[in-house]
Amino acid sequence: MGDFGALLDGFATALQPMYLLYALIGVTLGTAVGVLPGIGPAMTLALLLPLTYSLEPTAAFIMFAGIYYGGMYGGSTTSILLNAPGESSSIITALEGNRMAKAGRGSAALATAAIGSFVAGTIATVALTLVAPTIARLAVQLGPADYVALLVLAFLTVAAVLGSSPPRGIASLGIGLFLGLVGTDTLTGQQRFTLGLPALADGIDVVVVAVGVFAVGEALYVASRMRRGPIPLVPAGKGWMTKDDWRRSWKPWLRGTAIGFPIGTLPAGGAEVGTFLSYSAERKLSKHREEFGKGAIEGVAGPEAANNASAAGVLVPLLTLGLPTSATAAILISAFQSYGIQPGPLLFQDESALIWALIASLYIGNVLLLVLNLPLVGIWVKLLQIPRPYLYAGILTFAALGSYSVGASTEDLVLLFLLGLLGWAMRNFGFPIAPAVVGLILGPIAEEQLRRALAISQGDPTVLVTSPFAAVVYAALVVFLFLGWWLRRRQARTEAELAAVVATPAESERSSS
């Protein structure tokens, strides 16, 4: 019951008019930036991070919560109206949603996405509220060796599951780990990989890296091979969800939530996998299977719900263990760190008021999103029509602004651009970006825990595997890797099925009649 009281206290904080305003600003900005094509949730967070520098922690975190959910939500509008997903977790939404839009049912698709996101977000936040404190209490007893095990688990699953192939994922992780090494070693004061440059002595700021590889990298990548010509925007259309739409939507919403939340909590690659699983489940269960690939509302409702539920699920390992399982979560961690707060099992004890205000504002953010998005679709549509040269010039400008305002140094700007070139090269050669960001954040933590564990054992490496918890984690790792491989295979199969459905609409029409 103590948790419930704490949650109420959290609401009491988050409902203060000033904080409500910050939540509203966060949700609006998050959605607005998230809607912009080419900008996923991780980049949204990275770009908007500087806005919170001068805020006190509670206000800042309430705003982050809004930006996080808003950015997640914004992507679905883009994919429904533009048929080109900004983040991989919106691929499915693009597929069915865009076909609905082309059939003149765009607003129904947007509505089922918005309401589904709300339902899933709220249920998943409740689940987070119930699960997180318990996990945190258990996690307090973990020693450094146990942490090393958890971090190894996070590294390998993130690298293996995100991106096109495990070697590329691990290479990307390695790049991130290397970037995390740059700077002054915390335990001995030794400078590492700084090339003698004073600008690198304090390490590379996470915001600079994230904005560099995500935002600048993306802008360069798009610039190098831009799609010319008019923007293939589909008008949202008139009308609203019919009774039939509601009847067909609510079950997918709930199923999507049930699939998305657990997958989000696992270090299995964040939202993407859940949406694919939800989609194939809906396709199997639907009575209107022939509509799939041509604009089935279940194919929007389920995956959108799964997407948002896993966004909340990702927060469980983040808040209780300090483990980010997606790039977005990694940037959230760096936001915490900039306030001197290290997410982990002690967070619920040390920063109890802050954390419960954050969780309360997740509920509030969900409500705000629903209220905001249904009437404001028109504005989001306008944002989608920004001419591309201006859009990407704007991204570059804000990326520069963000990094410069961190430390007012031109070295950071140079670094930003170099990292942008790195991000561009990685995109060009099919390396996933997310593992690099995760590696950058977790690398230093892993090193510290590893050295602490070895210091306690006086250099005996067997300590790393003899703790019962660590042994369990390594066993789980094997299971996870297998599970991840299996999920990917499922996903590949769904993709193949999709391709088949899309390629032969005429045939499936014939067979259904």
Binding site: L82, P167, L181, D185, F193, R388, L396, T397
Partner: protein, 152 residues
């Protein structure tokens, strides 16, 4: 094209292999060595992968034309715009430097006529200057406009 991709890819890989050899000889090295070994091993794995013919698929995106080849001229123009910002931001201040960056970048990406992106950039640059310095209490250099009350 595949050859070119392979060439650049090798370069990327070479740089990842160089990284571990630059490990400093003093201080705590265990972790960097581990990272170095990891990088070398994955680069080897990637070579094997590549030799088997699994090239990397370039990322897809909303505004990306997957069939287009790399447009180096645009990238160079963007680099120039960014370099201009780096050089100009301290002497001339954020408002002017950011106008140059935005105008140059949008122009390189195809915005015409040239004065339109510059105008939009100026509005954007001055708005962010006022917003950051006045509302958010963050420092941005105003350059020669220093002393204008609402900019500094």
């Amino acid at each position: 094209m595949g050859l070119l991709a392979l060439g650049v890819f090798t370069l990327v890989d070479a740089s990842t292999i160089v990284a571990p050899s630059s490990v400093n000889t003093v201080g705590p090295q265990a972790f960097p060595y581990a990272v170095g070994v990891l990088l070398v091993l994955t680069s080897l794995a990637l070579f094997v992968d590549l030799a088997r013919g699994h090239g990397g698929a370039a990322e897809e995106g909303e505004d990306v034309d997957p069939s287009a080849t790399t447009d180096w001229a645009t990238v160079l123009k963007l680099t120039g715009s960014f370099a201009a910002l780096v050089v100009l931001v301290e002497p001339l201040g954020w408002p002017i430097a950011a106008t140059v960056l935005f105008g140059g970048a949008a122009w390189s990406l195809g915005a015409r006529p040239w004065w339109r992106p510059v105008l939009v950039g100026a509005v954007l640059a001055f708005t962010t200057q006022v917003l950051f310095t006045q509302l958010l209490d963050l420092y941005l250099p105003a350059g020669p406009l220093e002393g204008v009350s609402f900019l500094g």
